[in-house]
């Protein structure tokens, strides 16, 4: 019983120290503020997702065409708009990369 209590107390000390570690390591940090996504980062994330979707859709269309699920006519009809969408997403991302404030972005 005594051994169990000693072990329990040791365990408690260990976990308390571990939980308090961020405060023990940085008693007076310059900033304790948790980073937050701003409007700019959110928009950039949306554009990255849009670009990934557009590129994945192009890849799928290509593969579906090569495996015969999409006829030549359907392929030609869908390819143009998809390429345009992918190009727009890439361009918007590029523009943002050049102007991180996003002031000149047109989407």
């Amino acid at each position: 019983m005594t051994a169990a209590l000693v072990l329990g107390a040791l365990l408690a000390l260990l976990v308390v120290a571990f939980v308090a570690r961020p405060f023990l390591r940085e008693p007076a940090p310059r900033s304790d503020r948790l980073d937050e996504l701003g409007e700019e980062e959110r928009r950039r994330l949306e554009l990255v997702e849009e670009r990934d979707r557009a590129l994945a859709a192009l890849k799928e269309l290509e593969f579906d065409h090569r495996t015969g699920k999409v006829t030549d006519g359907d392929y030609r009809e869908q390819l143009g708009p998809m390429r345009r969408r992918a190009a727009e997403a890439l361009k918007a991302l590029d523009t943002r990369a050049q102007d991180p404030d996003g002031r000149t972005v047109r989407t």
Binding site: R21, S31, D35
Partner: protein, 649 residues
């Protein structure tokens, strides 16, 4: 050592409570150190829960009957492996297993995704809140560390649980049930933090897939346990507790399909949130059914005080998730629409509707007897015909869709391309159906339809691989470039084999009810002749028993010997021992059970189960396919890294 176990559990409770309170405050007030401290509390809770689990395992191994739990579930003579498996064969132990897996998963999920700080900061308190419930139950309602003056021996383990499958089946199910908490926590974290971009989906896809695989394997192991142990020759009886594991699996299956539409088209955001919440709440509901004693089942524990607590938790979790989804609806609007009802995404949508409809009809079948009991005070059971009707109504179209989906292009498919893609599978299915009809398989229309649809699905999957290989040049490159798609097709092959096995073994089985035999006498069933040779006595570590030695022959030549019988456990009582001959020629089984009538006269019951072994073979392919889909994907990883970078820019 019970005191150490109690202390460790109290620490776990305190830590996860801290993770909820401090974690929520830190996320709300944007406090960095407090958020890290709350996440550390989750890591530490895993450590303290490991200590508690270690104490219980040690008590079981040492047969320490001063633990009430140990004395209630094992005996001195019980072999060590089964004694350790008592960890999850009782109510308190299985709650501890839940908490152990949950804190382990929570620690791992938070640590692996620490880069997505804005998301994880809310995920930690959600996971902590689930852990608070389970640790509270263990500390204050149903503790595995209650003590007593030790009795001379324990009550032993129910004989049917003394089976190797019980070493793996419950932990697998729990890994699945609890695993669904992680995508749920990330989904709720995304809603709470208003970060409804697709990171939560990319991050949790593998968690969902792993949980879904564990649930599937757990159910198959349970089905095989029921088949070899219970002695009725079946593997699934629509028992409420079996259904309890099946429902979240169906919801997770729907989610795994619909999530692809969100990733590829940015659609179904609300639906995916609903599915994740449904799968998680159904996993808690499943635990509630097993733990509360609210239903009678061979799997459930006796009446316990847990029912009300679980019900309360389910209500809170459901209301919380529905309210949060409702509040964040404006963030979940899709920007694109379904372009055509003849497209891959449309087939996924039909698949989702069927899966959820099937899931909800099963839920109604489980809940209805409970409601009639609560409202009218009378028990009305929902029996096999109800479930079979919906299995045929939803399961057969789902099977067919599994063949249609891969043949249809994304976005929209023209009638011409569809005609070309469907030609071979359709022709094969017609030939298969007509041939089977001519061979007399029309005795079971659902069985005939299942085989016909299976031919269609099988042909469509083979064609997918052949066309894909032609397009990429090699199978290895084909699969390596799109593990998710081709891993999924392998899982479809498993489901196909499973469907064929179920149809064969249920629709076309032969039963020879118990027939009294003396040594030397025979009986015949479905082309097999079984000759009873003698009665033999057996002795194990903690039982004695008998085995009827029965020769199985076909076409005049002996092909096997089966030994059905009965074990008698001095503490736990008698248990049937079925004996099965797996026939490699038919992929079916000759399933036998025997009971002594008097002296060496026995009653022998025989079932032949055509194609039943395909069900178990499907399990291996299922795991292989899931592993292919789970395997790390460099492209996906690169995208995720880029999104973290974009979020941190």
């Amino acid at each position: 050592m019970a005191a150490l176990g109690r202390a460790a559990l109290l620490l776990s409770f305190g830590l996860v409570l801290y993770a909820v309170v401090a974690g929520s405050y830190a996320a709300w007030r944007r406090r960095r150190r407090l958020a890290v401290s709350a996440q550390n509390a989750l890591f530490a809770a895993f450590g303290t829960t490991v200590v508690a689990a270690g104490v219980l395992l040690a008590a079981l191994a040492r047969r320490d009957f001063s633990f009430v739990y140990v004395s209630q579930h094992i005996s001195r003579k019980l072999p060590l492996g089964y004694a350790l498996s008592a960890f999850w064969s009782g109510q308190e132990g299985s709650l501890l297993l839940w908490l152990l897996i949950l804190t382990g998963y929570a620690a791992l999920a938070v640590w692996l995704n620490r880069r997505a700080r804005d998301l994880v900061v809310w995920v930690a308190p959600v996971l902590g809140a689930i852990a608070v419930f389970f640790s509270f139950m263990l500390c204050f309602v149903s503790s595995p560390f209650d003590t007593q003056p030790p009795p001379a021996d324990g009550a032993g383990m129910v004989p049917s649980l003394q089976n190797p499958y019980m070493l793996a089946h419950p932990p697998m199910l729990y890994l699945g049930y609890v695993g669904l908490a992680v995508p749920f926590a990330f989904a709720m974290g995304a809603l709470l933090s208003k970060q409804t971009d697709e990171r939560w989906i990319v991050v949790t896809r593998r968690w969902t897939l792993a949980a879904w695989t564990f649930l599937g394997v757990g159910q198959l192991l349970g089905a095989h346990w029921a088949y070899v142990e219970i002695g009725w020759g079946g593997y699934y009886a629509w028992d409420p507790v079996e259904n309890a594991a099946f429902m979240p699996w169906l919801a997770a299956t729907a989610f795994l399909h619909s999530v692809m539409i969100q990733e590829k088209r940015g659609m179904l955001k609300v639906w995916n949130m609903v599915l994740v919440a449904l799968a998680f709440n159904l996993s808690i509901f499943g635990t509630f059914l097993t733990r509360s004693g609210v239903i009678n089942s061979i799997h459930s524990f006796s009446q316990s005080p847990l029912g009300g607590w679980f019900l309360g938790f389910i209500i809170v979790a459901t209301v919380f998730s529905v309210a949060l989804i409702w509040l964040r609806l404006p963030l979940l609007r899709a920007r694109t629409r379904l372009e055509s009802l003849l497209s891959r995404e449309a087939t996924f949508l039909y698949n989702n509707l069927l899966l959820v409809a099937f899931c909800l009809t099963i839920l109604w079948g489980v809940v209805y007897p409970l409601l009639t009991q609560a409202v009218r005070g009378e028990t009305r059971s929902v029996s096999k015909p109800y479930y079979d009707f919906f299995l045929h109504s939803f399961g057969l179209p789902l099977l067919l869709l599994m063949g249609i989906g891969p043949l249809v292009a994304w976005r929209k498919a023209s009638a011409r391309s569809l005609g070309r893609m469907f030609l071979i599978p359709f022709a094969l299915a017609v030939v298969c159906g007509v041939t089977l009809l001519a061979l007399g398989f029309g005795s079971s229309p659902p069985g005939l339809l299942a085989y016909t649809f299976s031919a269609f699905v099988g042909a469509s999957i083979v064609l997918e691989f052949v066309r894909g290989r032609r397009a990429t040049g090699s199978f290895v490159r084909l699969v390596a470039r799109n593990r998710r798609r081709y891993g999924g097709y392998l899982v479809h092959v498993a489901v196909l084999l499973f469907a064929i096995g179920v149809a064969g073994s249920s629709a076309y089985q032969s039963i020879r009810e118990a027939q009294t035999l003396r040594p030397g006498q025979s009986l015949s069933v479905a082309g097999y002749t079984l000759t009873y040779r003698e009665l033999a006595r057996v002795q194990g570590a903690n039982y004695t028993g008998f085995r009827a030695v029965v020769d199985v022959s076909r076409g005049g030549s002996r092909i096997a010997t089966v030994t059905p019988g009965e074990n008698s456990y001095p503490i736990e009582g008698p248990a049937n021992e079925a004996s099965v001959y797996h026939d490699p020629r038919t992929l079916g089984d000759v399933f036998t059970t025997a009971q002594v009538v008097r002296g060496n006269v026995i009653d022998l019951k025989v079932l032949t189960k055509p194609l039943v072994n395909l069900i178990w073979a499907a399990g291996f392919i299922f795991v292989f396919g899931a592993l292919v889909a789970l395997w790390p994907d460099a492209v996906e990883q690169r995208r995720l890294t880029e999104r973290y970078a974009a979020a941190a820019a």
